[in-house]
Symmetry: C2
Subunit: 132 residues, 2 copies
Amino acid sequence: MSTVNLTKNQTLVLDVLTRSEGPLSAYTILDKLRDHGFRAPLQVYRALEKLLEFGLVHRLESLNSFVACAHREHACCSHGTVAFAICESCGQVSEFHDHVIDDQLNSWTRGKGFKPSKTTIEIRGLCAACNI
Amino acid sequence: MSTVNLTKNQTLVLDVLTRSEGPLSAYTILDKLRDHGFRAPLQVYRALEKLLEFGLVHRLESLNSFVACAHREHACCSHGTVAFAICESCGQVSEFHDHVIDDQLNSWTRGKGFKPSKTTIEIRGLCAACNI
DNA sequence: TGCGTCACGTAATGTTATTACATGAATTGT
DNA sequence: ACAATTCATGTAATAACATTACGTGACGCA
């Protein structure tokens, strides 16, 4: 379990994401941090860039938005690809890992000589609660 | 094998994507079609929307861009999720299917009562040719 | 002290996507 | 034949997301 020293801006952005129910766009984060002195998108994007690097935050490509990592305590993020199920009705995001999928993707990339750097798996749909 | 009647604009957009080596952004498509009378982004987005619906085109979420479906002749697109390997050096995109991954995702969603509508799988990295 | 690095601030701009409103062509039911 | 509906289209404006360029001050270190 490595702990990183976050800067002031990184801490602020991570706090906002952690407190949030669902994913937030960079501009939404910006708005929430205006009272703390944030004035430009770049301040958010710079913090996000680092937080992504540290694995404390994930980017949801299909939503152009960001979530705090749900599995920090398990250090899950480091041993495989993270997948997301995103409810299009309530916005809730479930984060999970699947080693079979990891293996399968690895075997495809190995077979092709493809060297993966980042893998995105996102399922859009309706969560159990919304799918009544 | 169902064949769809495409409108003029849809045909133009699909042709541009089919002729292209790699994925194109909506605005790049727009530029390539100015000579054919395209003047606004909406003309492209509307055509893309339909082409996506017909399964003739895929959207790459991590790139905000679009590719013609590579497996039309196999009607692959209809029986499972499509995955993409995207080379960050040369831009080449490989499209593939994997039933084990499909099964694994289906079993996760079934277990959670999540009803999937669209699933995105994108691997960013370096293709064999670029990874020397 | 001089140098490199890094977090930060600000402004401007670039890129991607949508909303709102209007028109004409094709289809359908009567 | 006619009204009603649907659908593809065109145009303008704007919203939403992201980056480039430039400058400053703090810090570690040879």
